[in-house]
Every structure is written in structure tokens, then in C-alpha cells.
């Protein structure tokens, strides 16, 4: 009995011994890691640029919150996808760049964009024909020339799929391929129903970027006639960067396009490393393991300010944090109630305390850094609780109570809501704050089902009065989330849509601003700077109205 039972324990324990040894290795790995190579330094060196794969000047590492939703320019919507797409696909045009002299750059919004993948574009005298001359030297990543067919393929794919990117063409009046003509291999022509003032800016949009037709065509199937599924995962780049490898959930590695015809990118590789937790992205930046911490809230950026080795780039921008009041339902269908709220907002305190001083107080519904902003238009809404109470009394809206909705993904909006709530309490208004899931919030916006909302960082990708009116303030505008309706604004929008003369456009823009400041369909709360925390040696940070980073221009000081 002994002899049959006895051997059992040792055998078990032998297996246990192996397991224990493995576990000991794991524990050792955690604690004794200093012995070889030390991966802390090796992660840091990924930032230091010692692990390049081909002849450029190193690697840039960006910590991002998630993967891009898609690599297909026709379907990009979220910020992360848009930025990736902007850097992978050649745009038709681009803004000229002004050097701020402090390591940052900004788009020159006072001028029309110039050619990027195209050489130039000109409007006919009646403004209805756009002649586009192509660059002779533009090439696809495989070295084949970019021709008129490349451009036509892009437009056709967008229109046929009815994808998100058709907006860029529809707003110009292009809805059918018959309006887009190949004149020769190096020239194309648009026929527009009306003269359009925003041809250049729209062709600059990241989702108007060119796809590589050969790559896409290889992956078009009967089920997927435009190769959407393949392009979403693999991309068909034509821009300054192409894809070296993509491991969803982990990293997306870009490498410089060897056949890029424009100014060469400074970094040979760009690694977009998924670090979902904002606090970890901040910490990794402090440690120097990453060069740029992207997708950060204002609060997190403020906490990085002054950290050794870290620089927070901060550029005055054209986006706004807004309180939207739905205009066509009581109580906000009375302009006096909206004005009263506008008088109650503690603007200075929001900019200084909530947004850490890296924001301007608003000077109108129109953003003050827009090239079209007219400071002569009156903006009377300094914080004045007495005036607010008086307006509420006139409107018969004492004891007002309403609910404001906020997306749970919008940290800044949540931070702004609380002081607004208490400022409104002081004038006898009860504002309930309701936080909803991001997807639900989008849906409620689209359905206009809320009473009011707060959103941070709203801004037009194109700084143009027609674009902004068409998108936000015309009564039929798709993101007129407040159901604002003013016939005068509709008329101005209509005229702006076909007025090409810049002086007349400025007059119209001024009239528009006067109407908006009077009506306050939305209340601008603050105009936050565009901010990007990086290691202190990163330069060439370009701000454009879309807020999307251009990797090509980034460089390490001294390189």
C-alpha cells in the first residue's frame, strides 16, 4: 500500500516544480529585468530614433488612444482616423505655412490653398468651370505617375459609394461623374452648377485625398465593388507616408514613401502606439518613451505643463467650446432667454480656471481667429447677471429649468458644465446636467432631441463663411443642431454659396456675424488653443483648421 501510493506525491510535485520554475521566471522577469538590454531604455530609444529600418532620420513615436477606425479616406470620421488619413493620402491642395518662430507653424488662412498633388487650379470667368493642371512629377508609391485617371478614380469611388467623403464634392455642386472631365493626362475639369468660392479649401480636406487606383482595383470584388473592406484594413496610400505594418490594437507603423514627390518627411518612421489610458500616455511622455502624447484632454495637458523634458505646444485656433440651445422649442425659442443665458456665463473664469488660461474668451458667435472675423460687430455679452435677470423677467421666464446633455467622451464639456450650472443658479435658472454615452449623444444631436448641449472643440475644417454657414447656421444645415432658423441668415448663405469676390464675401460674412450675435443660436463659451504635448526637442508642429497633425513636417531639434 505504501509502495503504490508513495510515488504519487513526488510526481505531482515534479510537475508543480516545472510550473513553479516558470512562474519564478515571470516574477524574475519583472524584478530582475535590468540584466539585459533593459527595455526601459530600449523603449525610450524608440523615441531616440536608433531603430530605423531605412536611411531616414529616425523614428517618431506617438502615443494614441486607439486605432484609426478605418484606413479608407472615404469613410474616415473620427479624429484618429482623419489624422492618419491626412498623412497617408496626397491632398489636391494645401494651405501655405507660416512659421511662428517658436518651433510651431500655422496654416495661412488669409490666402487660398495652393496646389499639392495638383499644380494649380483656376476658375473660369463665370466661376462655373474649374480647370485643374496636374503636376508632371507626382508619383504613386510604386513609382508609376499620378495622372488624370488617378483623380477621376478618386471622385468616382467617393460618389459611387455615397460615402462620407462625397460631402467634399457635393458642397461644390459635384454630384455626378459627368461633371468631372479628363481633358488630357495632365489636366482635368470640373463643371459646377454655380460658381463656388471654396474649391481650394474643399480639395484640401483629408478625405478628399487620392487613393492608389491599382491597389484598390486589385481588391475589388463582386461583394465589395469598391474594395472597402480591404482598404479599411490595409490602406491604399499615395501621400508622404505609407504603411510599414499595422497590428490593430497594438501599433500602426508608417514609413516615408520612397517615391514621394514633395518635400521629404523628416522622420523615416512614425509609430502610432496604442496606449488607451490617458494617464499612461502622459507618464510615458514624461519618461521620454514616446515623443508625442495625442488625444489628451485639456485637464491632462495642463498637468503636463512644466514637466521636465516636455513641451506643450499651444496655438490660438478657430475652435470653440459651445453651449447649444435648441431654438425651435420653449424656452429657448425666445431670443431673450438665450441672450440672458449668454449674459450669465462666467467667460473669464471658464478660460482661466477650467481651461488653464490656454483659451480666449469669445468675441462673437464667429471664432475670433477666423480670417473672416469682423471685430466691429458688436458682442455685448460680458458676464452681467443683472442684465441676465432683467432679460429673463422681460421674457417671463423666471424659475427656468432645463437639461443640458454632454457626451461621456467629452471631458472638457463636463468640466465646463459645472461652473456654468452654478452661475445659472445665481440668476435663478436650474440647469440639470445629463451625461450620455457618446454614440447616444451623436444620435440625439442628429435627431435634435435635446433641450441643450455642451460640446468642446467644435470647429470647421475649412475657415470660410459659406462653409460655416452651410454646415451650421442655415436652417437646412446638417449640423444645425439647435434648429436655428433666420431667413436673413438663409439668404446670406445662399448668396455666399455663389459669390466669388472676396470683398463682397467679407461684407456678407460681417452681416452674418451681426445676425448670429443678435440671435445667439449657440453660446460660445471659450475658444481653446490647439494644444499638443510633445518632448521638448520636437519641432515643426503645424496647426491647421482641422486640428490634424502633419507628420511630414515634424522634426527633432538638431536633426
Amino acid at each position: 500500500m505504501h509502495s503504490t501510493e508513495q510515488p504519487a506525491p513526488p510526481r505531482r510535485w515534479r510537475i508543480g516544480g516545472v510550473v513553479a520554475a516558470m512562474a519564478a521566471t515571470l516574477t524574475l522577469a519583472a524584478c530582475g529585468g535590468g540584466s539585459d538590454g533593459d527595455s526601459k531604455t530600449s523603449t525610450a530609444s524608440a523615441g531616440g530614433g536608433s531603430t530605423t529600418s531605412g536611411g531616414g532620420s529616425g523614428t517618431l513615436t506617438i502615443g494614441v488612444s486607439s486605432d484609426p477606425q478605418t484606413l479608407d479616406p472615404e469613410w474616415g470620421q473620427a479624429h484618429r482616423a482623419n489624422e492618419t488619413i491626412k498623412n497617408l493620402y496626397a491632398q489636391w491642395t494645401r494651405y501655405e505655412v507660416i512659421d511662428n518662430g517658436d518651433g510651431t507653424l500655422k496654416a495661412d488662412l488669409t490666402k487660398d490653398p495652393v496646389g499639392e498633388a495638383i499644380e494649380s487650379y483656376t476658375l473660369s470667368d463665370d466661376g462655373k468651370t474649374v480647370n485643374i493642371k496636374l503636376r508632371p512629377d507626382a508619383k504613386l508609391p510604386d513609382g508609376e505617375p499620378i495622372t488624370a485617371d488617378t483623380f477621376l478614380f478618386k471622385v468616382e469611388r467617393a460618389l459611387e459609394m455615397n460615402a462620407g467623403s462625397i460631402f467634399d464634392f457635393n458642397i461644390l455642386g459635384i454630384t455626378k461623374m459627368s461633371q468631372v472631365k479628363k481633358v488630357s493626362d495632365s489636366e482635368i475639369q470640373f463643371k459646377l452648377p454655380n460658381p463656388s468660392p471654396i474649391v481650394g479649401p474643399m480639395l484640401r480636406d483629408q478625405d478628399a485625398g487620392l487613393v492608389d487606383p491599382k491597389l484598390v482595383k486589385e481588391h475589388m470584388t463582386d461583394d465589395d465593388p469598391w474594395g472597402t473592406e480591404w482598404v479599411a484594413q490595409n490602406g491604399a496610400p499615395t501621400g508622404a507616408y505609407v504603411i510599414e505594418k499595422y497590428e490593430p490594437g497594438r501599433q500602426l507603423v508608417l514609413k516615408a514613401n520612397p517615391n514621394y514627390w514633395g518635400e521629404k518627411p523628416n522622420f523615416e518612421r512614425v509609430v502610432l502606439q496604442v496606449i488607451p489610458d490617458e494617464g499612461q500616455r502622459a507618464q510615458l511622455l514624461r519618461q521620454g518613451a514616446i515623443d508625442i502624447a495625442a488625444d489628451m484632454s485639456t485637464d491632462a495637458i495642463a498637468r503636463l505643463d512644466g514637466a521636465p523634458g516636455v513641451r506643450v505646444h499651444s496655438v490660438p485656433a478657430i475652435s470653440q467650446d459651445q453651449l447649444g440651445l435648441v431654438n425651435d422649442k420653449p424656452p429657448f425659442n425666445d431670443a431673450r432667454v438665450r441672450q440672458a443665458i449668454a449674459y450669465a456665463i462666467p467667460y473669464q473664469s471658464l478660460a482661466d480656471n477650467v481651461l488653464g488660461g490656454r483659451a480666449a474668451t469669445p468675441k462673437g458667435v464667429w471664432p475670433q481667429n477666423s480670417a473672416w472675423f469682423d471685430e466691429s460687430v458688436e458682442w455685448p455679452y460680458a458676464t452681467d447677471p443683472e442684465k441676465a435677470k432683467q432679460l429673463l423677467a422681460e421674457a417671463g421666464a423666471e424659475n427656468l429649468e432645463f437639461t443640458v446633455q454632454i457626451s461621456d467622451a467629452d471631458a472638457d464639456a463636463q468640466a465646463l458644465a459645472v461652473p456654468i450650472q452654478s452661475a445659472l443658479r445665481d440668476i435663478g435658472v436650474t440647469m440639470n446636467i445629463e451625461k450620455v454615452a457618446a454614440a447616444r449623444f451623436s444620435k440625439n444631436l442628429t435627431k435634435r432631441s435635446m433641450q441643450a448641449w455642451i460640446q468642446s472643440g467644435l470647429g470647421a475644417y475649412v475657415d470660410d463663411p459659406y462653409y460655416m454657414a452651410f454646415l451650421s447656421y442655415a436652417s437646412t444645415a446638417v449640423i444645425n443642431w439647435t434648429n436655428y432658423k433666420n431667413e436673413k441668415v438663409d439668404d446670406i448663405t445662399e448668396e455666399l454659396s455663389k459669390t466669388v469676390d472676396r470683398d463682397r464675401r467679407q461684407e456678407l460674412a460681417t452681416e452674418l456675424q451681426a445676425a448670429l450675435n443678435q440671435d445667439v443660436p449657440i453660446i460660445p463659451l471659450a475658444e481653446p488653443n490647439w494644444m499638443l504635448p510633445t518632448r521638448e526637442d520636437i519641432e515643426g508642429v503645424l496647426w491647421e483648421p482641422d486640428g490634424l497633425l502633419t507628420y511630414r513636417l515634424l522634426k527633432r531639434a538638431g536633426d
Binding site: 501510493e5 508513495q6 504519487a8 506525491p9 510550473v19 513553479a20 516558470m22 512562474a23 521566471t25 515571470l26 516574477t27 522577469a29 519583472a30 524584478c31 530582475g32 529585468g33 535590468g34 539585459d36 538590454g37 527595455s39 526601459k40 530600449s42 523603449t43 524608440a46 513615436t61 486607439s66 486605432d67 477606425q69 479608407d72 470620421q77 455615397n162 462620407g164 472597402t228 473592406e229 479599411a232 484594413q233 497590428e247 490593430p248 490594437g249 497594438r250 501599433q251 509609430v271 502606439q273 496604442v274 496606449i275 488607451p276 489610458d277 499612461q280 507618464q283 518613451a289 514616446i290 454615452a437 457618446a438 454614440a439 451623436s442 444620435k443 442628429t446 454646415l471 446638417v478 449640423i479
Partner: protein, 341 residues
């Protein structure tokens, strides 16, 4: 007859499993559809209502719910979990990308967890109230009380940032490093299979802190149960008889351990099931590219197919692990077997 018994038993359990999964599918399907559809998110804010309507029709979201459900189950039976509407990728691909990372982490956490809890439980049971017992209980209570992500953060601050013994929490491997050729998808295992020792060592270092986090915060119940059931066993009649017959203490301990293992095994299976489904926050803190972040983001985006896929996979794992635990219990302990006829 014995074989017949096992087959009947297995058949019954598998049938129950399929029914349970079907139930899960129904519930999740209904709940996700009640939330709304992702059309606005796919098209973005600049889309027109007509565009949204067209896409909704293309994706079949304007069909009656029962019809959508039948379509979904039909695909499911063929092993097709559908396509994510947000990323346009097949859900099976997305899960295959991410699940091995979660599995690897859960396995490592479980392994470490068993290694500290079972021996400590056994030793503590020898002298209840002794110092080993008191210390181990304190450790277990600490592990239970502290939120796992917070413990993970503490480990990161101490070992990665302050001492520099562990790598910064950027995932499974150094930034920009290439993973070993994919076989299992678990980086540590794949590196070993490829004979790539530097990568293996590096991957182990990245795995260590999150695995320790899970081991400390998820496994204390195993310790408590091992201790209790060992104490019960040591006080039982057969142990007393064995001692009376003068068997060596080591052999007696082994008898007791063997008999106290059955509940511990079930508890371990439960813990493992829990681990696979509850690594979300730990994954987030360590940038671990597993299922956690994927499932959370899919839910935020109302992306039906991945949500359903994730929940079904999680449920299937639970069911499978329980089944395995039951089978092993039955093999160890005939009394359990007798209960199932």
C-alpha cells in the same frame, strides 16, 4: 456502461451549453438593438438624412428585428460573427487579433495565482491561527480589497518608473518591435516556438506586471478555499485513522490535499472564467492589446457585431471551463460522479 455514462453526460452538458449560448445571443441582440444603431457614427456629422437612410437600408437595420435576428443566427451557425460596421473588418479577424493577448495574460495570471495561493493555503491549514496563516490572510484581504487597476498602477509606478526594473507599460513588446511569427497569437509562446529568446525574454518582462496584478487581486478566494477545505480534510475521520495507523505525515497530508482539491478546482475554474472576462481595466492600464479595450469601444460605438461576438465568446469560455472543471472533479472524486446518472 461506463462509456455510455460519459457520452450521455457530455451530450447533456453540450446541449445545455448550446441553449445557454442561444439565450445569451437573444438577450444581447435585443439589448444592443434597443440602444440604437451606429449609422450616424459611421457617416459622421456631415452626413445628410438621406445618406443615413440609405446606409441603414444597406446594412439591413431597417428590417424587422426578428428578421435581423434570424439572419444573425444563420450566419452564426456558419461560424460567421459578422462584420464590424465601424471598422469594416470581420469580427472573427478582430477577435483572433486580440483574444490571444487576453488569454495569455489570464493564463499567466492564473498560473502565478495558483502558485501563491495553493501552497500558502496548504501551509496555513497546518497551523490555523499561526503566523503563516495570519500573514497569508492579510495578503489575501489586501488583494481582494484593492481594485486591480489601482494595484497595477502601483506596480507600474514602483517597478517601471521608480526602480526601472520592469518596462514601461506600452503593451506586449517594445514600441516598434516586431512580434514573433504568429502561431498561437500569444507572444511569449510564439517567441519560444520560434526559438527567439531575446523576444521571449522581453515579452516575459512585459507580461510580468499585469500577470502579477491579476494573480494578487483575483486569486485570494482560492487561498481561502484551499485553507478551509484543507483544515476540514485534516480534521476528518480518514486522516485521523491514517495518523492512528502511523502513516508518515507527508502521506497523510497528501491524502488530505487530494480530497480537498475538488472545491478548489471548481473555484479555480470560476476564477479563470472571471479573469478572461475581467481584464478590461488591467489591460487599459498596461496598454495590453487584448479584448478589454476592444469590447468597451465596440459598446461605446453601438457596433453590434463585435459586442455580440465578444459576449458569446466570453460565455462560451465560461461554459467550457466549468465543464472541464466538472469533468476533472468527476474523475478525481467518484462521489461527484454518482450524483450524475
Amino acid at each position: 456502461m461506463r462509456r455510455g455514462f460519459w457520452l450521455r453526460y457530455l451530450g447533456r452538458r453540450l446541449l445545455a451549453a448550446v441553449l445557454a449560448l442561444f439565450g445569451v445571443a437573444v438577450i444581447v441582440f435585443v439589448v444592443t438593438r434597443l440602444l440604437g444603431d451606429p449609422v450616424e457614427l459611421i457617416l459622421g456629422q456631415r452626413a445628410t438624412p438621406e445618406q443615413a437612410a440609405q446606409l441603414r437600408a444597406e446594412l439591413g437595420y431597417d428590417d424587422p428585428l426578428p428578421q435581423q435576428f434570424v439572419r444573425y443566427i444563420g450566419d452564426l451557425v456558419q461560424g460567421d460573427l459578422g462584420v464590424s460596421n465601424y471598422t469594416q473588418r470581420p469580427v472573427t479577424d478582430e477577435i483572433a487579433d486580440r483574444f490571444p493577448a487576453t488569454l495569455e495574460l489570464a493564463l499567466a495570471g492564473m498560473l502565478l495565482g495558483l502558485l501563491w495561493t495553493i501552497p500558502l493555503g496548504v501551509i496555513a491549514a497546518q497551523r490555523p491561527g499561526g503566523w503563516v496563516d495570519r500573514v497569508s490572510r492579510a495578503v489575501a484581504e489586501f488583494g481582494l480589497a484593492i481594485p486591480n487597476f489601482f494595484f497595477g498602477l502601483l506596480l507600474i509606478l514602483l517597478f517601471a518608473y521608480a526602480l526601472g526594473w520592469a518596462p514601461a507599460p506600452v503593451g506586449e513588446l517594445d514600441i516598434g518591435a516586431s512580434p514573433p511569427p504568429r502561431v498561437t497569437g500569444m507572444v511569449v509562446v510564439d517567441a519560444l516556438l520560434a526559438g527567439d529568446l531575446p523576444t521571449f525574454w522581453s515579452a516575459l518582462k512585459y507580461l510580468a506586471l499585469p500577470a502579477i496584478t491579476l494573480a494578487v487581486t483575483s486569486c485570494p478566494p482560492i487561498l481561502a478555499l484551499t485553507r478551509t477545505s484543507m483544515i476540514t480534510a485534516l480534521r476528518s475521520d480518514y486522516v485521523r485513522s491514517a495518523r492512528a495507523f502511523g502513516l508518515p505525515p507527508r502521506t497523510v497530508r497528501w491524502y488530505a490535499l487530494k480530497n480537498s482539491l475538488v472545491p478548489v478546482l471548481t473555484m479555480s475554474a470560476m476564477t479563470f472564467g472571471f479573469l478572461v472576462g475581467n481584464t478590461v481595466l488591467v489591460e487599459s492600464v498596461f496598454s495590453w492589446p487584448g479584448m478589454g479595450l476592444y469590447s468597451v469601444q465596440s459598446m461605446q460605438r453601438f457596433d453590434y457585431a463585435p459586442v455580440l461576438g465578444v459576449v458569446l465568446l466570453g460565455s462560451a469560455i465560461y461554459i467550457l471551463v466549468y465543464l472541464l472543471a466538472d469533468l476533472i472533479s468527476m474523475a478525481i472524486d467518484p462521489r461527484v460522479r454518482e450524483g450524475q446518472t
